[in-house]
Symmetry: C2
Subunit: 316 residues, 2 copies
């Protein structure tokens, strides 16, 4: 950074907070925004959906790959997907940001712009936060959401006979990660999707309205996350490789370039934050069928067999 | 740690989460607790109060001073105080915890026990969280609260003629910090209050019911935090040294032992998370009068004069 660029330490906590909150437009659900001890968020039916994720530098993002704006967008997107996966709509986020005192104010501003950019995409606002000194970047986001009177769509309601369907992309983040790791510059779209996922905003509510019996978002990998539904519901989920052919083919360029089997990314790649759900009847628009729910001891299969590849993201 | 003690990396994210969530009893406000993509918290009046704080190792706590249980209690207490300061009641917390992979599972369990211990003291539960790898301990807490139909008590409503009052302790954390820093073992109560603050749970609601015109919690120091009320309300706050005599005298042992003026801790010491509010009429039970609100350019005075001591906690 330039020696003339003001740092967080120079501007001070309250100066930085004032700067990054200036000119922001809160959605109606934020009855009271930043500037007091706490914010006030509305949800007319008296229930608030809440989830939290922490992103740590060099573990969940790299400052030499992602811009601060990218990091802000990613932090919001992955939290928003958790609320979507309950059949709810994100209304507000609070964000705690730890960074070294010599961090440029401009970097905090870019992070905040990214947070707001992505929050706007899902109709929500940044209602509050915390700004602290830390030896590395840590971004901890909590999302609040509104069920709009619907029942939450949990992981434990899948029934034999249901159809398994997905909304959003699979494997892109995993493929993009392999491109970054190997220094391969194309396809740029996959590289971008590793840095900033694209959850299918609005499809959580659509799935709930269509009677989804279970739902989750693909954060750890398709098989791993469907494994949670299979375990919680006590069912077998059987995926069709043929139904996932388009996802596989979209990754073929990256597969050739890196020498990886694209199925690894389709089945094991996390962080795309697609939504995957089970439906007792017709699948709504925006969703594609990828398998079915069967009776049996909880497990996830591909064409009736165990998948022997990458098991998905491990937190440690 | 013993070589035989299991670590977070050995047990894995989901194993640790299962272990720390086992046997917990959620309050009624937690309609859906941990184990799905998100939790569901109720607030009958359709409004949820939310605030977030991040605690970073060696900045907000030291592992050679605090037990993991202490850190859990402190993280909850300081967030709960923000909800109390709005005139609301804490209902649920979500907690993101970053720690090195070789951290003992027992330490995460003790942190969780501390989180739950303090949450129970304010009638709330731990409704969800995140567990990630980080090079040092980071605990990021978000609190949700219920206004119970009351209007939020903001910082901008103080009026000339109001009485300034406080509920809870002042200066204890600051005095305790000085004892720790100087390796002085007595008084142990002050040392303990530096590690685990004691917000006056329930008094936020009491103040709101009594018509408090403004309120905040003392996190950065009495003068600093009242400065926010003075600025937001456009008033002068004049404190009485005589009215604060008991707070001063409670710190006299530590003052003698460390050679510090006890008024520094009363006026400048943060992290006790007392509540300070302004009232147009009688002050409710549990509150003590410490000053008054006057007309004039926003400022905080002690007996009509500027205080020249410690200005309070700086985030950078």
């Amino acid at each position: 950074m330039s020696d003339n660029e003001p740092t967080l330490a120079q501007l001070g906590e309250f100066g930085v907070i004032d700067a990054i909150n200036a000119g922001r437009h809160q959605p109606d659900a934020v009855a009271l925004g930043p500037g007091d001890d706490a914010a006030v968020i509305t949800a007319a039916d008296g229930r608030t959906v809440v989830s939290t994720d922490m992103l740590v530098q060099d573990r969940h993002f790299r400052l030499d790959w992602s811009t601060a704006h990218d990091i802000g967008r990613k932090a919001i997107a992955q939290n928003a997907a958790d609320v979507e996966a309950m059949g709810a709509t994100p209304t507000a986020f609070v964000v705690a940001f730890g960074a070294p005192p010599d961090t440029a104010v401009a970097a905090a501003q870019a992070l905040s712009d990214g947070l707001w950019d992505e929050a706007r995409r899902c109709g929500a606002g940044i209602a509050g936060g915390d700004l602290v000194s830390a030896p590395l970047w840590v971004v901890s986001v909590t999302v609040l959401g509104d069920l709009g009177g619907r029942a939450p769509v949990r992981r434990d309601g899948a029934q034999p006979g249901d159809t398994v369907a997905v909304a959003g992309d699979l494997g892109r983040s995993g493929a993009g990660y392999a491109l970054w790791l190997n220094g391969i510059r194309e396809p740029t779209a996959l590289r971008a999707q590793h840095l900033v996922p694209k959850p299918p905003y609005g499809q959580g509510r659509v799935a709930a309205d269509a009677g989804a019996t279970s739902m989750t978002d693909v954060s750890d990998g398709l098989l791993a996350d469907l494994g949670h539904i299979a375990a919680a519901s006590g069912v077998v989920i059987d995926l069709s490789r043929e139904a996932l052919g388009a996802d596989h083919d979209a990754l073929s360029g990256a597969a050739v370039a890196t020498g990886v089997d694209a199925w690894e990314w389709v089945f094991g790649g996390g962080e795309d934050h697609a939504l995957v759900a089970t439906f007792p009847g017709a699948v709504p628009r925006g969703w594609r069928v990828i398998g079915r729910v069967l009776d049996g001891r909880a497990a996830v299969y591909v064409d009736g067999e165990s998948w022997s590849g990458n098991a998905g993201w491990q937190s440690y």
